[in-house]
């Protein structure tokens, strides 16, 4: 029996120490011999205190005493207690954990304590590793979470709308901009199919764009990001239409399978508007809204095909635009252009291509139209134009027409022919227009300043009489009279407040005033018959001593007629009231003229002028 017990003790897979009340060790099993390398013979009979680790020795001793006294069984966890017996060859610092089970054995008066030692190092290590793994996993999770948050925050705060979906195409993330654009809040959108939240149609076809996940997967996308067609309109939840630009990217897993998608889009309404504006401006004339020269050239290339022959071109040119610009200012010039364009537009069919190719030039492109039809259009336009007025001037446009019938005609030649024809018409139509314009200008000038009418007529009369006194031929006298009437025509372009300003003029105002002779020249020189008079008007403020304007001519360099005009103008001015002074008497005025003979005035003419005044006085 005893040997049986001993054999059993041998087989037990844990350390067994038995000691008595004296704490003397009576049993040390084989497992312990192997474990500690301490042989049974080395410990039997020794006090257990010698093997108990110094640390917490008292704690163990208390336990033993308690066990002897009360018969209590105790359990000591390796997690909480230091090593009880050291294994052989223990490396310093290595972790050893042992659970202890302490049993009191009472046999009659004999009391023993049995300590069973379980090595739980492996178990502990396993747990430790587990804990470390868990801790690592937690760290990684935390890192991932932080990264995820970072991405999420980035995603949510970018300036473009961002929607991402899961595998089924259901919305997972929607950022603030996307919320605003789609009209769906995050709470409402998440989990809904992307097509519901992102309702987009093609700008032109008005068909719904397929943003479903299947569409993405079924497309053969070799690249990672797909910029979809640029004409997409997003219909927001409240049915507002927003022009957008968008791109779709698949989200792939490690194996490259598509796991979801990201849709990035932005509001391009303004950009599109700007683009459209730029496109419009690049092809249109800003003033009239007609197509411009660039468009015309492109369009001509496009239309110059067999299908469009006969291709007729109408070339139009506004008459008198320069004259009006010079005399009435560019505002009125623009008005003339607009009125002309109205006439052209009204005369044409809706879909005709009308281009403004120069300041006053227009071209009408008429595909599949022959010359006779074009002539009808022209006469229609001219008819409408003749009823339109700018100020009290009729709108007048000269036209030229030519047609490309087949490939033997070059487009260049056709345009040239039309141009020639137009100029031919202009020769007849324009002078008429110009003299009408000059009349209109004079009329306007008189309306603007009534005193001017008296002055002009007075000067004309004086000129006429000087001519008579000098014995000039009849046609010269007529010319002088006309020059007198027209000499201040340039004043039409000058601000009347400067003329009527009481007191001294500033330098700028004076510069403005002296422009009137130049402007007068420009206006009058447009009318062929008045081109000589234009010269006289230009120089009528030159002085004999060379101190006049605009050229500073001297003595006989000044045209004879201008010298006459100069005296007449000065005299008439002196005997009239001016804003800055009262009228002089005729006598005083004459005296003034005499004084300035050889300074401002031609001294020879001064005598003739004095005679003229005397003659005029006696004639009355």
């Amino acid at each position: 029996m005893d040997s049986l017990c001993k054999n059993i003790l041998k087989k037990i897979n844990s350390g067994i120490i038995i000691f008595d009340e004296e704490l003397l060790i009576s049993h040390w099993n084989e497992w312990l011999e192997q474990y500690t390398g301490i042989l049974k013979d080395q410990v039997i009979g020794k006090n257990v205190k010698e093997i108990i680790p110094a640390f917490k020795k008292n704690y163990y001793l208390q336990l033993f005493q308690k066990a002897f006294k009360m018969g209590q069984s105790m359990f000591c966890s390796g997690g909480l207690h230091p090593v009880f017996v050291y294994p052989a060859n223990t490396m310093e610092g290595s972790i050893i954990k042992q659970n202890l089970q302490i049993d009191a054995i009472f046999m009659g008066k004999q009391k023993y304590i049995l300590i069973q030692i379980f090595d739980t190092t492996n178990q502990f290590k396993r747990v430790e590793t587990l804990k470390m793994e868990i801790a690592n996993r937690k760290d990684v999770e935390q890192l991932l979470f932080a990264k995820k948050e970072q991405f999420k925050t980035t995603l949510l705060s970018v300036g473009d709308g961002v929607i991402s979906t899961d595998k089924r195409g259901h919305v997972q993330i929607i950022n603030r901009v996307a919320e605003e654009l789609t009209g769906w809040t995050r709470a409402e959108a998440v989990g809904k199919p992307i097509e519901t939240v992102f309702n987009a149609i093609n700008e032109f076809t008005r068909k719904k764009c397929d943003y479903s996940f299947n569409a993405l997967v079924s497309s053969d996308y070799s690249t990672d990001t797909i910029d979809t067609i640029d004409s997409v309109i997003l219909i927001s939840r409240n049915n507002t239409e927003i022009m957008i630009e968008d791109s779709v990217s698949p989200i792939r897993d490690r194996l490259g399978h598509i796991n979801g998608m990201v849709l990035v889009f932005r509001d391009v309404t303004e950009k599109k508007q700007r683009q459209d504006e730029i496109k419009y401006l690049s092809l249109h004339d800003q003033l009239t809204g007609l197509y411009n020269r660039r468009f015309f050239e492109e369009e001509l290339k496009r239309l110059d095909t067999r299908r469009n022959w006969p291709l007729t071109i109408i070339l139009g040119d506004i008459n008198g635009l320069k004259l009006i610009n010079d005399s009435f200012g560019h505002g009125m010039g623009d008005e003339l252009i607009k009125k002309s364009v109205e006439a052209i537009k009204n005369g044409c069919r809706e879909d005709e291509i009308i281009c403004r190719i120069g300041g006053d030039e227009f071209i009408i492109l008429l595909p599949k139209t022959d010359a006779s039809k074009a002539e009808k259009i022209v006469s229609r336009i001219q008819n409408i134009a003749s009823q339109k007025k700018v100020g009290n001037l009729n709108v007048s446009i000269s036209f030229g027409i030519d047609t490309k019938i087949d490939e033997t005609d070059s487009m260049k030649a056709v345009i040239k022919k039309a141009d020639e024809q137009m100029y031919h018409h202009k020769l007849f139509e324009s002078p008429d227009m110009r003299s009408k314009t000059v009349n209109a200008i004079i009329k306007n000038l008189y309306i603007k300043d009534q005193r001017e009418e008296e002055h002009s007529k007075g000067v004309a009369k004086l000129c006429q009489n000087i001519g008579a006194v000098l014995g000039l031929p009849e046609n010269k006298i007529d010319e002088l009279k006309t020059a007198g009437l027209l000499h201040d025509i340039g004043k039409i372009a000058i601000d009347e407040t400067i003329f009527n300003k009481p007191g001294k003029l500033t330098e700028d105002e004076w510069k403005e005033i002296i422009r009137h002779s130049e402007i007068g020249y420009r206006i009058l020189s447009t009318v062929k018959e008045l081109s000589d008079i234009a010269e006289y008007v230009l120089d009528h403020h030159e002085k004999w001593n060379g101190e006049g304007y605009p050229k500073g001519l001297k003595g006989e360099e000044i045209p004879f007629e201008s010298r006459i005009l100069n005296i007449a103008d000065a005299y008439n001015a002196m005997i009239s009231d001016r804003s800055y002074r009262n009228a002089l008497s005729k006598k005083e005025a004459l005296e003034e003229i005499r004084k300035n003979a050889g300074i401002q005035f031609d001294p020879n003419l001064v005598n003739a002028f004095v005679e003229t005044i005397v003659f005029m006085a006696t004639a009355k």
């Binding site: 009360m70 209590q72 069984s73 997690g79 909480l80 739980t120 747990v127 587990l130 937690k138």
Partner: protein, 211 residues
């Protein structure tokens, strides 16, 4: 089944035993651990009024998953005693005792080491309580090593409380660590004769004190 005086006396004893356990635990884990007993009751669950009382003061942890260390003891004074903690708190307790950062390893499952630690805590506390009762009754108790189990208490409640041993002592206890507090309970089930003996002993003590 105990009058107020008897209950007070029992509570006083238990406080003493538990106090020893807490100083032992403090020594083991090198941390100050204070154990207090807010509530103690000895019940005969066959008695309707005791059943009523039990249902009134039943600790909330009895509605959760618990970890229990069980010791059985025998001979004249026989029965079993178990120390119960809510499962999640048991882990906190184990980690605090091991001096580890609890948050970092919260995976909800108890490891072998956790079980060992809880076994020892149960061992220390139950030994103190049972040893104390043994001393009180002048009895040498023989008992087993604690077994540690995890169970959902309501499922086991009937098997634990309503068996052949009709008397139940329920001790609610609170562990206070540095800044953590957790509730546990000790449930001792023993037979009629043991109960009578215990009450007799308490009465003797009371007579001694009161004269």
């Amino acid at each position: 089944m105990l009058n107020l005086q008897q209950e007070d006396a029992l509570k006083e004893y238990m406080n003493m035993f538990i106090g020893q356990a807490s100083s032992l635990l403090s020594e083991i884990v090198d941390k100050k651990i204070i154990l207090t007993l807010p509530q103690i009751m000895l019940l005969n669950l066959e008695q309707p009024e005791d059943l009523l009382r039990y249902s009134e003061v039943r600790p909330t942890l009895f509605n959760s998953h618990v970890v229990s260390s069980i010791i059985e003891f025998g001979k004249r004074f026989s029965g079993n005693a178990r120390l119960l903690f809510p499962k999640d708190k048991a882990q906190v307790l184990a980690h605090l005792c091991l001096g580890e950062d609890y948050e970092a390893v919260d995976d909800g499952e108890l490891t072998d080491v956790d079980f060992d630690v809880i076994r020892e805590i149960g061992n220390v506390i139950l030994n103190s309580v049972l040893g104390g009762i043994g001393n009180l009754l002048d009895l040498k108790l023989e008992y087993t090593f604690p077994k540690v189990q995890v169970c959902f208490f309501p499922e086991e409640e009937e098997a634990i409380l309503f068996n052949k041993e009709t008397h139940v002592m329920v001790i609610c206890n609170t562990f206070s660590f540095e800044d953590t507090q957790l509730d546990g309970a000790i449930v001792m089930v023993f037979n009629m004769s043991s109960t009578i003996e215990l009450i007799k002993k308490i009465d003797e003590v009371l007579v001694d004190i009161d004269g």
